[in-house]
Amino acid sequence: MRDAWLVAGKDLRIEFRSRVAVNQVIPFAAAVILLFGLALGPSRQVLAPASAGLFWVAVLLSSVLVTQRSFAVEASDGARDALRLSGLDPAGIFLGKALAVAVELLALEALLTFGVAVLYGARLTGALVLFAACVAATVGLAAVGIVYGAVASGLRVRETLLPLLFLPVAAPVLLGATKAWDEALKGTPSGGLGWLSLLAVFAVLYVAIGTVAFGPLLEES
């Protein structure tokens, strides 16, 4: 567990200093929600009800970028080998990287929430459910993303392969998080509780798989 904190701290420090997340991922997410606005027209009657779904699609697309970034950091200067030889527990490395990605995504979601409220005119009600859905969905996304990121890392085709592997698996997260947000935004947050448990199951399952599977993934190449 200490290893996880170390790795997460390292990744977050790199992000904080390099500002790639700030300079590229956040503007990307902003561009996505702007484009959705253009695609669906200026009418708030259309945009406001769809805002939950659009928000989560934007998050999903951005999480691909964040995951790729998380492994691009390891690719240069043989950092990957150094990480492997560092004697850190593979499960710890997995948890640490997933934690760092989750923290970055949560920060992004906070900003996007603001953007959705302003641009689409979504009224933010049921804040507790909104927040819980964010946390559960983000942990699940980060876990799947890191496992697949490790699967695809080091391959020449990783930029195209990762989205193809990652997005279909993340479909239940999109569904669950969107419905939970829908219920919350409609002012009936209790309707989202079932979806929250679905998100939680997904998160727990994939964190468990990642913890077990990361060892064999790291020893390769």
């Binding site: 799947v144 085709v157 193809l164 698996v169 479909a171 079932g194 199951v201 064999p216 993934l217």
Partner: protein
């Protein structure tokens, strides 16, 4: 020798079985009361879906076996790859035949039914898996990587199914009965359906076995090529000495 004779026999049986299914399905069996002659699609669509799930189950089990250290064996990896590829072919056919059934029955080519949606996602998931397998690399690394991807994909299937069916039930959409569960299957229809299941399963076995052999040949060829290259480099070094 006996092994390839068994394989040939399987192939012939599958061929005869499929031919008989087509003959019985198109010409011998009667039209059903509520479905008209569309009921004939029933003899091929459910067997397609069954074979697809069988193939993915097989790929999952062999991937699991590969990941477990004690049973780690390149043959299991090849089996997983072969089975998944055949599974993708049958999933595609499941989607197409389902769509062809849906159009005249409900007037749409597609409906967001849990089964349909899950199958479509499954199709995309395993296309990704096959794409990952095709990326060249050290065979053992490729195998381990693919096994983990297969594991993740398979675990996702029940979650997807559950979430989509829940999503649909909340939407209060007009429910459609996909597989004709209310259909009373009897007599020659039941036998034809059974024959369809058996012969397409045999076809799955035959296809997977041949795909497996192809993979084994390709692996051996890669090994030979590597050995040859190594020998040449070694010979060069010895000339210099």
């Amino acid at each position: 020798m006996t092994r390839s004779r068994i394989l040939t026999t399987t192939g012939v049986l599958a061929l005869v079985g499929i031919a008989a299914t087509v003959w019985l399905g198109l010409w011998v069996t009667p039209n059903a009361v509520n479905f008209g002659d569309l009921v004939r699609l029933l003899y091929i669509h459910p067997p397609m879906a069954w074979v697809a799930f069988l193939a993915y189950g097989m790929a999952f089990l062999s991937s699991l076996g590969y990941l477990w250290r004690r049973t780690r064996d390149p043959r299991l990896d090849r089996l997983a790859g072969a089975s998944a590829e055949v599974g993708v072919v049958f999933t595609g056919l499941t989607l197409i035949t389902g769509s062809i059934w849906g159009r005249p029955t409900w007037g749409v080519w597609w409906t967001w039914d849990p089964l349909l949606t899950t199958t479509a996602l499954l199709f995309v998931l395993y296309l990704g898996y096959l794409a990952l397998r095709r990326v060249p690399g050290d065979p053992e690394v490729v195998a381990r990587r693919s096994a983990i991807a297969a594991l993740i994909a398979f675990v996702d299937v029940p979650i997807v199914y559950f979430s989509v069916s829940w999503w649909r039930s909340l939407h209060q959409a007009p429910t459609v009965d996909l597989s004709g569960r209310h259909l009373y299957v009897h007599g020659s229809m039941a036998w034809t359906l059974l024959l369809g299941f058996v012969s397409f399963t045999l076809a799955y076995a035959w296809l997977t076995a041949h795909r497996y052999r192809l993979a084994a040949l390709a692996d051996r060829e890669a090994d030979e090529g590597l050995r040859q290259a190594l020998d040449e480099r070694r010979a060069e070094g010895e000339v210099l000495v």
